[in-house]
Symmetry: C2
Subunit: 193 residues, 2 copies
DNA sequence: CTTTTTTCTTGACATAGGTCAATGACGACG
DNA sequence: CGTCGTCATTGACCTATGTCAAGAAAAAAG
């Protein structure tokens, strides 16, 4: 526990040994079995979760009942319903585990204290958020300017392991297309090469 | 100058009078005429800009030469090519003024100093970024789950003044549809009521 | 005002991707 | 090792939105 987190933190800020020890006290470890929920739509998101092991996803369900995956969170990623966490409003996202997972949970309180005791974390979270904005904006622009095939190609280029760890229909959902369409795209793509 | 900025900052953090004075020194005021560029694709984004007056937009141009608007920035909003600003890589976005505008520019250096001298600003920027993530994620999920008509309706509901200040084809571009489609959608919508 | 440029509308047609339904392929589990 | 649920594939057809081209209308420029 905490190895992945500290490696991740070290990329952005430097922590002393004491700070690391202190830091640990703010997190609550939690294990999740595959298919278990971390957060259900309508509940308040009380934690941001850091993934030490395994993987989760967050998704919304629209009026017609279809799922739309917002995020996959692999080892070393954070996941939460940011809006619900920030405001205390009911969550619009559902979060569940795609594999057996080990998490570090940070409550709002704990986050406040962490930031107060180790202000460097302000910078850490700021940088995280910055990268998140950049990535989400890119995804949006891709949605507006590229075909489904192009987006799929880019996704697997940028993360080769995804097809091995995530069922195809979830990749489709992440890309904003139907499983049928993704299946056809893949067929075409293999035909090409 | 600075009225809009300080009002905006005050929503998120409290500044003393001295801090405000100090703060001012980090910003460079700049006026932009309508249609003038703040940033061109390929140049490095050296500033984040706060809009005191007027409005800007940021957009990308795809391989086929079509524009895709990422953001409109009205009074009280920030705008930049975050990735380019963060990394010093050439910008993928272009930013220009849709109206005569007054800006406050913050360079990377100035930002670093601002954060160092008035650490409260870490929190301010963190909250800004958080809202930005939330909004961009919503837009992405809308793109994946809603029709063009629904997205247009929501946009004008959430910002009634937009159609008055922004040409229709730019709203279309922001929504990720063609001007023709938006024109047809509007026709249908007036037919309904 | 008149001219020019930009923006918006409309029609005819094309196409990417969605929908529905059936079938096959697997892996998990009793 | 059979059965059940999940996942992927495929076909036939449908629909939202894109493309191209031509005008009309509005706004900016002279």
């Amino acid at each position: 526990m905490f190895e992945v987190l500290f490696r991740n933190v070290a990329d952005k800020i430097d922590l002393t040994e004491e700070e690391k020890q202190l830091c640990k006290s703010f997190f609550a470890p939690k294990k999740l079995r595959k298919r278990q929920y971390l957060l259900q739509e309508g509940d308040v998101c009380k934690y941001v979760a850091f993934v030490e092991k395994g993987m989760l996803r967050s998704y919304t369900i629209d009026d017609k009942g279809s799922e739309h995956i917002m995020q996959f969170a692999f080892e070393g990623w954070w996941i939460a319903d940011n809006y619900s966490f920030l405001t205390g409003e009911p969550a619009t996202y559902t979060i569940d585990a795609l594999e057996d997972s080990e998490l570090l949970l940070l409550s709002k309180q704990a986050e406040d204290q962490l930031l107060e005791k180790i202000p460097k974390f302000e910078k850490y979270f700021r940088l995280l958020l910055q990268n998140n904005v950049i990535a989400t904006q890119r995804r949006l622009m891709s949605s507006h300017s590229q075909t489904a095939e192009e987006r799929y190609q880019q996704l697997i280029d940028s993360c080769e392991t995804i097809p091995q760890r995530v069922p195809q229909h979830m990749i489709a959902s992440f890309l904003g297309i139907t499983p049928e369409t993704l299946s056809r795209i893949r067929k075409q793509m293999t035909a090409k090469n």
